[in-house]
Amino acid sequence: MRVDRTIRVSFPAPARGLIRGIGRLLLSALLLAGCTQTDSLKTSQTFQRPPGTARVLLMPPDVELYELLASGLQEPRAAWTETAKRNVVAAIADLLRPKNAELVPYVEPTADPAAERRHTQLIKLHDAVGYSILVYQYGGPNQLPIKQGKFDWTLGSEASLLQREFGADYALFVFMRDSYSSEGRKAMMVGLALLGIGVSGGAQVGFASLVDLKTGNIVWFNRLISTTGDLRTQEPADEAVKELLHNQPL
């Protein structure tokens, strides 16, 4: 970087790199996929569900909604995102209730900076591991030779701090990005289709992972790619979450 890259409006910052990478990666998979596609992975070891009620810590869902403008620019939409987060949480709760799994809400330890740092590092680590799974486990040609098809990713023993602090057996991480075509974009898609030029509309992408908090191991992971769906209303949000969590092992 040059010295006199001095003072600038800071948007977007480099810290966004990983998150953007995840979104882009899922979107690029969309180009190869059909309408709705999920593709889940399970631990190579035998999964043993604890007897009785499983306590599942729901990490803050990493959900962002965007409006896809005619130009292809994506505009972040805060109100949609708020609604979508509520819908996703409600849908997850509905889905897990009949499975004898109790949802434990995550509470940010705002009063304790040291605990907040530990939690955030764990969440950042999960971002990085999730990204690696998307790149290397789903990646086809990118498959790591050392994995030999095994699915044995882990956050390490540090994850057990969440078990201690929340008394939970598992942590569920959910990442979703959703974009919706603006009226202008829709008009353009129709117009250009008439001219024989294909332009993509909005898309829904995401992944979910279930972490065993005793070991830190990721015991189940699923990727969702869809050109339909709408997290802004409860019913389609329920559908999306159902797709995302289908065949989760609890």
Partner: protein, 390 residues
């Protein structure tokens, strides 16, 4: 395709673009204090995205967590922005680059490379006041809206051209539109300097210090002899022009009120303890010509010269050009006769002697280093060397 068919289409595209480029920019009111934007707005979307970035930065390993340093920088920020003091949050990040930035949701990032290069509090005040203006004038939102309208407007000529199969012309049209976006951000930079300098003067600082920020950077750039890419100049006014504008405004401001303080003592009290570490980071960039200018400036400041001379010795030792070993020895020797030379000065001398084949002098200097720093992290390595070189 004949040129007769091409030119009218191209001209039409460019004209259309000239007509629809963002001439219709409306002035936004200043950012209100003490409130978040309404959820349904595009501004709330920007805040949402930047809240996430801020969370990453707040918990970043590169963050300098020293409470006193953070409180000091936050204090200077509040001096130049009493109106927005409660809305803005400072994060000092470890990076040798010169940079300061602000996000639309009110977090301010200052790199340690900028703190190393500020000579006094007035210069830091200028950098922060400049950033505050970006926030006050909602420049990111303005820029986002501008890009949005420009790129959308651009589509029509682009579609027309792509249907006509005129790829290169579409690229030209794009360049025209992007040029107007860059022009816009250059205006924002000018506004940030102008508004910022008013804040600096109102807070009682000497506004003319802002000129030195730029002349010092210009000296670094000249020494480094590197060519900035064109796009960089497009987004940032050339330094000379900027320095001249600041000089003119500072002269007007100082004529109308007391000159203001530079706050040099306060700045040194707050930052001197960190300077050595920042110089070490600066050296790690291996941009020696540029670092020499920084060291020259610190030498002329005349504070804790032993430390400055030590890093000059390190620079020569690491660069390793012809004659650098001798220059390094001279610099280390100057360090040892000045205030504040760290024990590592002896290690540096030892390394240079060892490099030159003078095992006896090297041993003496290593011994002295270990005597002065009994808990040196590289003790085992040095002792092994001393044992095996016998």
């Amino acid at each position: 395709m004949t040129s007769g068919a091409t030119w009218p289409a191209l001209m039409m595209a460019l004209l259309a673009c000239a007509g629809c480029a963002p001439a219709s920019r409306s002035e936004l009111p200043d950012a209100p204090t003490g409130q978040r934007p309404a959820l349904a707005t595009d501004e709330a979307g920007l805040w949402m995205v930047m809240d996430r970035v801020e969370q990453d930065i707040r918990t970043s390993g590169r963050r300098v967590s020293d409470p006193a340093l953070n409180a000091y920088v936050q204090g200077v920020l509040c001096n130049v922005a009493p109106d927005y003091c409660r809305d803005l949050r400072i994060y000092v990040l470890e990076s040798a680059d010169f940079n300061a930035s602000i996000a639309p949701n009110g977090f301010v990032v200052v790199f340690t490379g900028a703190l190393l290069r500020c000579r006094n509090e007035a210069q830091l005040a200028y950098l922060l006041a400049h950033e505050v203006t970006h926030y006050q004038r909602r420049h990111t939102l303005q820029q986002w809206r501008d890009i949005r309208s420009t790129v959308d407007a651009l589509l029509f000529p682009e579609i027309a051209l792509s249907v006509a199969g005129l790829g290169p012309a579409a690229t030209l049209a794009e360049l025209g539109a992007i040029g107007s976006i860059l022009q816009f951000s250059r205006e924002q930079e000018r506004e940030a300097d102008a508004f910022g300098l008013d804040r600096v003067a109102a807070a009682g600082y000497d506004p003319s210090e802002s000129v030195d920020v730029w002349t010092n950077l210009m000296a670094e750039k000249k020494a480094a002899k590197d060519d900035e890419p064109f796009i960089f100049f497009a987004t940032h006014p050339p330094n000379a022009e900027r320095a001249a504008a600041l000089r003119e405004q500072a002269a007007a401001l100082t004529a109308s009120r007391n000159a203001g303080i530079d706050g040099v003592d306060e700045y040194r009290n707050a930052t001197l303890a960190f300077r050595g570490g920042w110089l070490r980071d600066e050296l790690r960039r291996r941009e020696y010509d540029r670092t020499q200018v920084v060291l020259d400036q610190l030498t002329s400041d005349g504070v804790r010269l032993g430390e400055v001379a030590f890093y000059r010795g390190e620079l020569y030792r690491l660069r390793g050009d012809k004659g650098d070993d001798q220059r390094a020895i001279e610099a280390y020797r100057i360090a040892l006769t000045s205030e504040g030379a760290p024990p590592e000065t002896h290690r540096g001398l030892a390394e240079v002697y060892r490099h030159g084949g003078d095992a006896k002098q090297a041993r003496a200097e290593f011994d002295e280093y270990l005597r002065l720093k009994p808990d040196a992290p590289d003790r085992t390595m040095i002792e092994t060397y001393l044992r095996t070189s016998e």
